[in-house]
Symmetry: C2
Subunit: 409 residues, 2 copies
């Protein structure tokens, strides 16, 4: 039995995977299971199998991008789902992990990558967020919220769920008129504009993406609030001043563990004595680990989804009051499925903007991320803390009540 057959027979036990490869009859792995389905893949040449066996996490994505691994019906979500469900904790497997040697080398490399000095941070951000604004228009909601939405009902539209996410976070910030708010990693400005619109507050949004900055500023100008909602191209470590509230959505994933303490210390220094911060970040339920090679290479260089233990360990000892940790999981799966659907629908436009290889890379990324939340170990943490003992109410009721008031329900 070839190594690839051993690998796939371990990786697929529920549901079925049929493999077509040059010079051999088709082989089917797994057992029929209506829920898990049946996926057919094809290897274009004899080199594909060996690369997958050596480092499946890196090779599968690259071979798919290059068209050397194809999925019938172009159903990359189906393939990733089948593999990830079989690999889920509940099923007791970790078949998709690279070998110990590959992991060891990767760990050292990732540690170096994650040191994240300022120049590198900007390059890392540009790699992803300076992609064409047109691309993000094609798969995000109209407000361009590029982070986990909040589904009060799984049947809600993405637009509704992103608006409800803003309400959910705003309620936790317990904002009062006259406050100054800092948005670290402001994206295209949606959160900053929302907080100004609903509370009349001044907001400073900072980003390292020139594309995001340009659009965020245009939006503030168009809304006639450019004097109250300002955006700057600046590293968070260089922000100065004092803010009553800090919000940071989908940015902590780019900070890197060696900088976690710097990040929290900077947040503390930027908060007024009664200040409150809310960090919204992807995290992993498992212990600290490393980002997979494919994601580091193609999607988020320098990116890392923290375990809660390492995040809190960096936070403790800074004389800050941890006030809440919420764990969102399926919300991000729903969000990513919708981004994936919109990406498929926009295939022609994306191929015209870039090329087929980029389109396949993007679908592979979104499918992998969706399944990491749906059947893997990723979640989204909302971590709230304050410099003050007394600023926030003593029960969480204000969060739900504030959110419902903003949603008008």
């Amino acid at each position: 039995m070839a190594l690839i057959d051993m690998f796939l027979s371990r990786a697929v036990t529920r549901g079925q995977l049929t493999l077509h490869r040059p010079g051999k009859p088709p082989t089917t792995f797994g057992t029929p299971d209506a829920e898990y389905g049946h996926i057919t893949i094809r290897f274009a040449d004899r080199g594909v199998a060996a690369r997958i066996v050596r480092n499946p996490a890196l090779a599968a994505g690259e071979l798919y991008m290059d068209g050397r691994l194809t999925v019938d019906g172009d159903d990359i979500m189906g393939l990733v789902t089948l593999m990830k469900r079989n690999d889920a904790w509940e099923n007791g497997q970790q078949a998709l992990q690279p070998s110990a040697l590959v992991r060891g080398i990767g760990a050292v490399k990732h540690r170096l990558d994650r040191i994240n000095m300022e120049r590198r941070s900007k390059q890392n951000v540009a790699h992803h967020y300076d992609l064409s604004a047109r691309l993000y228009d094609l798969f995000l909601d109209a407000d361009k919220q590029y982070s986990c939405a909040y589904y009060t009902d799984p049947g809600n539209t993405l637009e509704q769920a992103q608006d409800d996410k803003l309400a959910h976070i705003a309620a936790k910030l317990a904002i009062r008129p006259g406050m100054r708010v800092l948005d670290i990693g402001c994206g295209w400005g949606g959160m900053a504009l929302y907080l100004n619109k609903h509370f009349g507050v001044e907001v400073l949004g900072v980003t390292l993406s020139e594309e995001q900055l340009k659009i965020a500023r245009e939006r503030a100008a168009a809304a006639g609030v450019a004097d109250k909602v300002r955006f700057e191209l600046i590293d968070y470590r260089r922000v100065e001043g004092q803010f009553d509230r800090i919000v940071s959505v989908g940015m902590f994933e780019h900070v890197g563990p060696p900088q976690y303490r710097t990040y929290f210390r900077k947040c503390r220094d930027l908060l007024t004595p009664d200040g409150v911060a809310l960090i919204h970040t992807i995290g992993r339920l498992g212990p600290p680990s490393v980002t997979d090679d494919w994601t580091t290479k193609y999607i988020f260089p320098g990116g890392y989804n923290p375990a809660l233990s390492e995040t809190i360990a960096a936070f403790e000892g800074l004389k800050l009051f941890l006030t809440d940790v919420e764990v969102l999981r399926l919300h991000y799966a729903y969000t990513l499925h919708e981004w994936y659907r919109r990406t498929l629908a926009a295939k022609d436009a994306i191929v015209a903007l870039y090329d087929e290889r980029f389109y396949r890379m993007w679908t592979f990324y979104l499918a992998g991320a969706a399944q990491a939340f749906e059947h893997g170990g990723l979640v989204n943490f909302q971590i709230q803390f304050s410099r003050s003992r007394a600023e926030l109410p003593i029960t969480r009721d204000y969060m739900i009540e504030g959110e419902r008031a903003l949603r008008g329900v």
Copy 2:
């Protein structure tokens, strides 16, 4: 200037402390501050000062118990409050810490203590919880909830707040009729009886305290539910079977860091595949540390209030889904203030039951604990997790709605 003067002038900067000691005129430390107040203490002999300077955390309590350090008006809460407020994070001080050498020795000793083998666990529990049932009757609420209450309003009575705590936790357990529930560290049985009363479920409560066991069983018999609500004198590590829900209130403080992984692994093994657990435990906002010597010696041998980082680090990698972390702080301060008030009111009865020294020990313990929550770094964590991805709703609304339904509001 004597060492004690240097120590107290550092320890008290806001508010005032006047010290009377043999052979010297009274000395006043600090600055007048109406909010912080003015406390007068007396040293009975010349040995008191040196012992306090050497290890204030241990000596202050012992000297107070022995009547060699007295507080005018017997206001030990006032003294502890003044010291703790001055030592609060916001004020930037850590004056009450013992010397580095004392801390180093303490850390080694505590590490040995915390290994917590079963025989030692039982001794540790007996030390505190096998105190006379009459004592607990004198300062706890009627339901004998010996843990942080839940104040939907700070003006609520302790009885109301303890009942609301049960509702708050029960809602997070998302119990359905027919489920089996395990209560690890069941105390005098209040939680187990509550869950049976409201959901009709079978509950097994386990404790290592013979006093608690006896009373819990009597209560179940008196309520006519002894067939559905059972109590056993058994170490949690020896419990067998499968439970849909696990609740553990005020017990994790006795587990000790070397056993945290054992604890969570045992919880996982005891949960059904759809099982949910809720751990309610005191914790520290600062980094991992050690329990102060006085508390270890007189109140909770083997006890330790965990940092969240070390708790979650022990939890990660066990293939469990962390679903929520709530942080309660002032709730426990309110609870402890009420226990303290009831202790003062029951002074004659407690002295009759034990003696003056025990009474002073108990008031010092409750005052110190109250101030650790009010002005120090202690909080109460409620950590919820599940073996299943799908068992719990995806938003936290069910928690508040369930709680309100149980409270009838």
